[in-house]
């Protein structure tokens, strides 16, 4: 594994002061220097650990290995409940990286500054809160939370422990997201009163199987974690957990946390929430997966008044994608099956994607701001923005408050679908109003000891 032996300025000075012993450990980052309440300097190398290293977690790890090889970060540990995935991650990460099955070993290590959490959704809240309580900065995959109460705990933990949290709705950091945002806030389609998000359906489980014993490489108890106990079934994992309401929640939570993230940001609606949520949809007729296949959710916002909708529709009803040359900032549209239409009183604007690929309509890309035009924050990259947050204390582009606001949209949409009725929401108190059953469902008790 290629690694740099160059010392950055801070390490060099520390080494010089401490004598030759320090110089002989070029990757040493002062124990807890970044993880503690203070902030490291701009040149400090952050020491990382990765929790959840299959699927998206594997992608995060490979990206971080490249950063490490460029001397930007250290990688100290990897963790997974699946031994096969863990073994692969250790190979990817190379020498000096310690494998763990139980993420809490990582949280005990004082030399680790930050963690990247890419476990199934039902673990996000608990692991982010635990990491924050142990003083670690956190990058956690979207959606932030599975319940309203989890989201509140995540916000509180980040605030109390003064850690930097970035949630993986990376659409906000894409080049064309900046162009779209700038185009919209400068009134090019006038006052926007409605945003219609579109997505293809959630899949049905067309290969259902009965429950069985878990495979030997998987710690089923740990995979379930906070969820109530149930027997293992192949159709829970991996990856497909997202089609189960309790552990994933379907397209509305998986991609809604991307597309609606852009909507909330571009509409200036972070920190706000809807006052009513009404969902309809169709449920699968067989198999383990129970997320809505087709779905329509309408969110009504007040002061200012606008409407947000989320629709999972048959593929043939999706808007057609723009033709491109591939030379645009975001390149060709590789995932045209989701996005959103912004409806203003002077016109409409459409974007596709909203995650790692975010593609803005041509008119936004070609718009030239005049003198005095409003500018918006341009992310240096989703991870770079997080590193900046760690080192300077600056608020990240998908900070935990914003991310919980978006995740709550997903959670409330599913709750309305599950309950088959319209919900009323108090966005200030962050509570469901006038529905005792729905209020109980704002939280979900968690198994011992995997709890907030």
């Amino acid at each position: 594994m290629k690694r740099t032996n160059q010392l950055n300025r801070r390490e060099f000075l520390a080494g010089a002061a401490a004598g030759a012993a320090a110089v002989s450990f070029p990757y040493f980052v002062p124990s807890g220097a970044l993880a503690a309440r203070g902030r490291g300097g701009a040149n400090e190398r952050i020491t990382m650990a990765h929790i959840g290293v299959g699927g998206m977690g594997g992608s995060h790890l490979r990206g971080m290995v490249k950063r490490r090889d460029k001397g930007e970060v250290n990688i100290a540990a990897v963790c997974d409940a699946d031994e096969n995935r863990l073994a692969n991650a250790v190979k990817t990460a190379g020498k000096g990286v310690q494998p763990y099955r139980d993420y809490r070993y990582i949280l005990q290590r004082k030399d680790i500054d930050a963690v990247v959490i890419a476990t199934p959704d039902h673990w996000h809240g608990v692991q982010m809160v635990h990491a924050a309580e142990c003083g670690k900065h956190v990058y956690v995959e979207k959606p932030a939370c599975c319940t309203i109460e989890e989201g509140k705990a995540m916000v509180a933990a980040a605030k109390k422990n003064k850690v930097s949290v970035q949630v993986g709705s990376q659409g906000r950091s894409q080049p064309e997201a900046y162009l779209a945002h700038r185009y919209l806030v400068n009134g090019n389609i006038g006052h926007i009163s409605r945003v219609d998000c579109f997505h293809y359906p959630s899949p049905e489980d067309n290969n259902p199987v009965p429950d069985s014993a878990p495979p030997p490489e998987l710690d089923w108890d740990l995979w379930l974690g906070p969820l109530r106990w149930r027997p293992y079934n192949k159709r829970y994992c991996h990856g497909v957990f997202r089609w189960v309401l309790e552990s994933g929640g379907g397209q509305i939570r998986d991609r809604g946390a991307h597309v609606m993230s852009c909507a909330m940001w571009w509409m200036g609606a972070d920190g706000t929430g809807p006052v009513t949520i009404e969902a309809t949809g169709t449920a699968p007729t067989k198999g383990l997966w129970d997320s809505a296949v087709l779905m329509k959710v309408t969110y009504t916002f007040k002061n200012p008044d606008w409407t947000l909708t989320w629709t999972q529709m048959p593929r043939e009803q999706l808007p057609s994608a723009e033709k491109r040359t591939g030379k645009e900032p975001g390149g060709r549209i590789s995932r045209p099956g989701y996005g959103a239409i912004y409806r203003g009183d002077k016109g409409e604007f459409i974007h596709w994607g909203g995650d790692g690929g975010t593609w803005a309509e041509k008119k936004a890309r070609e718009w030239k701001p005049s003198a005095g035009a409003k500018d918006v924050y341009k992310s240096p990259g989703h991870k770079e923005d997080w590193f900046k947050g760690i080192k300077t204390g600056a608020k990240t582009i998908m900070n935990i408050e914003a991310a919980v606001g978006v995740a709550n949209l997903c959670v409330l949409g599913n709750l309305s679908f599950i309950l088959g009725r319209k919900l009323r929401w108090d966005p200030v108190k962050q509570e469901i109003v006038g529905d005792e059953q729905a209020r109980r469902m704002m939280g979900r008790p968690q198994r011992h000891p995997y709890h907030l």
Partner: protein
């Protein structure tokens, strides 16, 4: 089965509150029809029946619970989902009587005569609509090794003084290996539990994977 027929059954049950007295021929027929479709072989027929199951209400609770123990995994799933539909429908605002009779039927399914898988699911149904009078039956399961973890989580969620008292009593009576679990629920309910330190951050699971040398 028509929507109207199911609605009639459900409303009749709610109005009288006495299940034995409302088992009219019409209601029996509607519930039988629902169960027949749930136990059928067609995914589509089963799916359509599921969509309308919510309004079947209390009379369908026990027959569906029985179907949850079917040998066919798809029948089991469909019955479970149909029962959840009933719970979600009965829990809607301003349906107090309907909720009460459905909850009463569910409480009746917590006994030893039911399979553990059914009792576990019923516990969670009661976590959403269980009234104060469900607390005693749920608390009794704190001494059942297979169901006690679900029972304490359900008591945590139900809220109110009765469930809090049941958790406190459960803590006193609990064996050593379960005290921490109940202590967690009490903490979540705002109780300061002394002498039982929270172990949520204590690692326990070791890997067999070795680092690269």
């Amino acid at each position: 089965m028509s929507n109207n027929k199911l609605k009639k059954v459900s409303l009749t049950a709610a109005a009288t509150g006495v299940m034995a007295g409302v088992a009219s021929a019409a209601s029996n027929e509607a519930v039988d029809e629902l169960i027949a479709k749930i136990r059928g072989k067609s995914d589509k027929v089963r799916g359509d029946a599921l969509l309308r199951a919510g309004e079947a209400g209390a009379p369908a609770v026990k027959p569906l619970a029985k179907a949850m123990d079917d040998e066919d995994v798809e029948v089991t799933r469909a019955a479970k989902r149909a029962l959840w539909k009933i719970v979600r429908h009965a829990g809607r605002p301003r349906a107090r009587d309907e909720k009460r009779v459905v909850a009463a039927e569910l409480i009746g399914l917590l006994g030893d005569g039911q399979p553990t898988s059914v009792r576990r699911e019923v516990l969670w149904m009661l976590s959403e609509i269980g009234p104060r009078r469900s607390v005693k039956a749920i608390a009794a399961l704190l001494s059942n090794k297979e169901l006690r973890e679900d029972a304490r989580m359900v008591l945590q969620r139900i809220g109110g003084r009765q469930s809090l008292a049941a958790l406190k009593a459960g803590l006193k009576a609990a064996p050593k290996d379960f005290k921490l679990n109940i202590a967690q629920s009490l903490r979540q309910r705002g109780v300061n539990v002394r002498g039982l330190a929270c172990v949520k951050l204590v690692p326990t699971k070791k890997t067999n994977v070795k680092p690269v040398k």
